[in-house]
């Protein structure tokens, strides 16, 4: 896959995150390149979701730096809403807007933020729905969809803002097993198109197949990182070995 090593999309240095007295992220530093697909694995409570949520400031960063396309999102003068327009996020529990049908879910942000006219947004939404195989359900409400369908719509919704980074927070963890495949397939297609992706997941097989790099997190640190070959097949750190023995 085409990773552009000349262009750093996400630069994180000495990032810390506390919830009150609890230190969830202790010292995280890494660079993520354009077109790179990074998968974050690790035991629950290791801080992987928190780390992901820090990247679009859904969690306020306590200390350290995070640059998105060179823009320091910890800087109080930076308009975080503008930064977020370029970072799509997909949640474990889908979080489709329950009061709107699928089409409106997709067109809300582009129209409200004046990225597109109603007509353009609609056309584009239908294209995105086709891309995730959901064009038949444009008029349906979220409550009428299965988990896998909801998640595919959620991905399409994020794509409608034309982000150049996509964050996935355990996108398949809330799905029935038979629906995991359809969502992973959409993500694979996205990776093949060269999208920069950061994915928190428990799907080790998917990580091996799709990712350029795997980060193993534990106790608020990145304990080990490298290609899936290195981290998943030949882990060096005892904690990584221990974790993989439990999940594989």
């Amino acid at each position: 896959m085409a990773v552009n090593r000349d262009k750093v999309k996400i630069h994180v240095s000495h990032l810390k995150k506390n919830f009150g007295k609890l230190e969830v992220l202790k010292d995280i530093s890494t660079d993520i390149y354009e077109g790179e697909v990074v998968v974050i694995i690790g035991p629950s409570g290791s801080g992987k979701s928190t780390f992901l949520r820090c990247l679009n400031q859904l969690e306020e960063i306590t200390d350290g730096q995070a640059l998105i396309d060179g823009v320091d999102i910890t800087d109080k003068h930076v308009n975080i809403n503008h930064v977020r327009e370029n970072i799509g996020m997909v949640f474990q529990h889908f979080n489709l807007f329950a009061n709107m049908n699928v089409l409106r879910n997709l067109t809300l942000a582009p129209v409200d933020l004046k990225k597109a006219t109603k007509e353009e947004a609609r056309t584009q939404a239908m294209e995105m729905l086709a891309k995730v195989g959901m064009q038949d359900k444009a008029e349906a409400y979220p409550s009428q969809l299965s988990g896998g369908q909801k998640q595919r719509v959620a991905i399409a919704r994020a794509l409608c803002m034309h982000p150049d980074i996509m964050l996935f927070d355990e996108p398949t963890s809330a799905l029935d097993p038979e629906m995991v495949g359809e969502v992973l397939q959409v993500m694979k297609n996205l990776a093949a198109e060269g999208m920069t992706m950061v994915i928190v997941t428990h799907e080790i097989g998917f990580a091996r197949e799709v990712s350029d790099r795997v980060l193993f997190m534990d106790g608020g640190y990145i304990v080990e990182e490298g290609t899936p070959q290195e981290v998943i097949l030949n882990p060096k750190e005892p904690r990584t070995i221990d974790f993989l023995n439990k999940v594989l």
Partner: protein
């Protein structure tokens, strides 16, 4: 009975009209106050949160009759004691303020609870797309919150409508005050108070039926 209706019916109907005017003006401002303080209690700002809590706690702890006396007699008295100041409130104005404050505090709680009942993920998803906080609130969170708030709001409206009767103590010519006068001149307490009760029942049942229809309409498509 028939004589009461024919002779005093019109008077009592007019009084019911006054009751409704008072209730509606009180409710109107109560909704505004409730929205302001309800939102102040959910935003991530300690100062706003504390102000909202103080407002709600203070108002809820004061009986409405005390609030009415305080606003109608107390506040103008205090202002008139200042040199060169002259200030009076009509019973309608004072009554509206008392109702608005009282009902507003409960509305604030209903609105806070309604907003908090909407899953946090809804706000997060909207924010993750780049929508500013208030835009997300307006487009995504509030429409869902209102759905859950409607039964409580209707309940509060009914309580406030009935609470207008307390404002008979400051001399506003609403239904109870008028009925008192009618009883005083006719000595027909049973008929008059019975009639007044029936009038309240009719108005409030109409209100709650309309609310049911509205609720059903809002829940369509879910």
């Amino acid at each position: 009975m028939v004589r009461i209706v024919t002779v005093y019916g019109r008077l009592l109907l007019e009084a019911m009209g006054q009751t409704l005017i008072l209730a509606l003006s009180g409710l109107f401002f109560a909704c505004i106050l409730g929205l302001i303080f309800g939102l102040m209690s959910v935003v991530r700002n300690k100062v706003c949160n504390v102000i909202a809590v103080i407002f709600v706690d203070a108002i809820r702890s004061v009986p409405m009759i005390v609030l009415a006396y305080f606003i109608y007699f107390g506040v103008p008295a205090a202002i008139n004691n200042m040199p060169g100041m002259s200030f009076t409130l009509s019973a309608l104005q004072a009554g509206t303020v008392a109702l608005a404050l009282n009902c507003g505090a409960y509305m604030a709680e209903i609105i806070r609870a309604g907003i908090q009942s909407v899953d946090r993920g809804q706000m997060e998803a909207a924010r993750s797309l780049g929508l500013p906080y208030w835009r997300a609130m307006q487009r995504v969170v509030l429409p869902q919150a209102i759905r859950t708030m409607i039964p409580s709001i209707v309940n509060q409206f009914i309580i406030t409508l009935k609470d207008t009767s307390i404002l008979s103590v400051i001399g506003f010519p609403e239904l109870v005050n008028t009925a008192k006068n009618v009883v005083a001149s006719t000595f027909r307490a049973f008929e008059v108070w019975g009639l007044v009760a029936v009038m309240y029942i009719i108005v409030i049942l109409t209100l709650s039926r309309c609310a049911k229809i509205l609720e059903r309409r809002l829940n369509r498509g879910r």
